[in-house]
């Protein structure tokens, strides 16, 4: 079964704009991760945030986590056409570090 739910399902923006994707989940987590998938390829890990963290940055990526609302957001700043991909959140439950479940993803299109 899938754990997280992303919204929006699809997002289309112009190059240079910021893109925000949200993820909601149901159970208590150890950490939450974001992955990216280009069309026809496997998923690539982007960033991880632990349950005791509220915000993390990596380059143009910013992730926030609100455990009280069981939600996370991924912000991509100054988007580029090469950021066009699907983005998935994955949750790791507190009781099992090896269990990882993915949401349905957000399809991001960045127009040049």
């Amino acid at each position: 079964s899938q754990q997280g739910e992303e919204d929006p399902q699809a997002l289309s923006i112009q190059e240079g704009e910021n893109a925000t994707m949200n993820c909601s989940y149901k159970t208590s987590i150890n950490n939450l991760q974001w992955y990216r998938q280009n069309s026809g390829r496997g998923l690539v890990h982007l960033i991880l945030i632990r349950s005791n963290e509220r915000e993390k940055h990596s380059g143009r990526l910013r992730v926030t986590l609100d455990t009280s609302k069981k939600s996370s957001s991924l912000l991509i700043t100054a988007s580029r056409a090469a950021d066009t991909a699907s983005y998935f959140c994955a949750t790791v439950p507190f009781y099992n570090n090896n269990d990882m479940r993915f949401g349905a993803g957000t399809r991001l299109t960045v127009k040049p």
């Binding site: 496997g42 993915f102 349905a104 399809r107």
Partner: protein, 117 residues
Amino acid sequence: GAGVSQTPSNKVTEKGKYVELRCDPISGHTALYWYRQSLGQGPEFLIYFQGTGAADDSGLPNDRFFAVRPEGSVSTLKIQRTERGDSAVYLCASSNGYSTSGANVLTFGAGSRLTVL
């Protein structure tokens, strides 16, 4: 190897046939995962191995699906009596259990696209 390798990349079969999908994880990675991804959906968990044993196979949809990892490296996902509904991309991922951040991070292969006619 340098990455996770999956073969075949593409498999077309007829309903009722038997199919094997292979995954060659990153050398030294102890954990290996299989996911199934339908068009427009996220990866759906099937099974994961810790070493040679299946630590969690709760995602296998029914007894037509089986996976092995006899020597703790290469894994094979086996599907018997394939049905059209089995058509999907089957993704394999591996990990060494803990990244530099102390948490489990997966490295994925490119997937095996299965089409059942």
